[in-house]
Assembly symmetry: C2
Homo-oligomer: 146 residues x 2
DNA sequence: GGGTTTGGTTGCGATTGGCAACGATCGGGA
DNA sequence: TCCCGATCGTTGCCAATCGCAACCAAACCC
């Protein structure tokens, strides 16, 4: 197997990954809230784990248009899953955090998801898993300059 | 670092991967043809590498709606990158293959891409690379039952 | 103080894909 | 052979997503 073949396989698997993850995220989003859009789920998860954050920090992290974030933030607020408060340090910015309701819903789903993942990834050792994450990060880094 | 933490990181990196790959595919598609849509690029690459194929086989492989494939096939034909011929073995089906023009354009881009990838992935050994691909496939398999 | 930068909103349009209805063809069993 | 269900593909419809650009307000900096 040549290097070129390996790279072809790599790209093939990345393609499969993307489509499957998209589907999984969709299922998960609906589990959190009937009307939660898949893309917003990822935003919500980020806010949930990283305390109050600015919208602009999400823009950087997700490498996505700020208009898209703005819309998804509105979507999440309509569903009552996040709250917004003016940033005391910067009058232009607002800080986003999950509501109690949002936090509770995320936790319920996270518990269920952890059970699923433990089943699905049960045969991975902790070493294998974290090695895989490192390689994934390494691959991501190699893509950043394209 | 607990297993839960590792899984969180895993999901984080997968998110980054998805967004970066989306961008890379977009660039590549435009390189093949000014008007080639990103999603169609993946279809084209598959047809290019797997000889004449049916649309339905792409549906299975890509786990995507057949209507979407039908539209992308039309798009690729309008651009003159693929051809369609009735399947002699099945009157309902058609076989898709790249045109000479499509093949030439893909080859030009592939050459350039290989150079880029060799630069970006230059510090991966062949073993590391194929190990990564295996783990990616393993992870993909674990997602399939969700 | 005034120009520039940054944070966020909104309108617009392109891309993408899911769902469903449809016509044509195939294949297997009565 | 004929018919019923399955398969292949097309199309209309629509929702989700995101990039781009124009815009406002606040902050920053010289």
């Amino acid at each position: 197997m040549t290097r070129a073949d390996t790279i072809r396989e790599l790209e093939q698997e990345v393609g499969v990954l993307i489509r499957r993850v998209r589907r999984v995220i969709g299922v998960r989003a609906r589990a959190v809230h009937e009307s939660l859009q898949p893309a917003s789920y990822l935003i919500l998860a980020h806010i949930n784990e990283n305390g109050p954050v600015r919208a602009s920090s999400i823009v950087e992290l997700f490498e996505i248009d700020k208009g898209a974030i703005s819309r998804q933030v509105h979507h999440l607020m309509e569903l009552g899953l996040i709250d917004r408060a003016p940033d005391p340090d910067d009058g232009r910015a607002t800080l986003l955090k999950v509501t109690d309701e949002g936090s509770r819903r995320m936790k319920d789903v996270a518990d269920h998801r952890r059970k699923m993942l433990d089943e699905q990834l049960g045969d991975w050792t902790e070493q294998e898993l974290s090695a895989f994450v490192s390689e994934l990060a390494r691959y991501n880094a190699s893509l950043s300059d394209f």
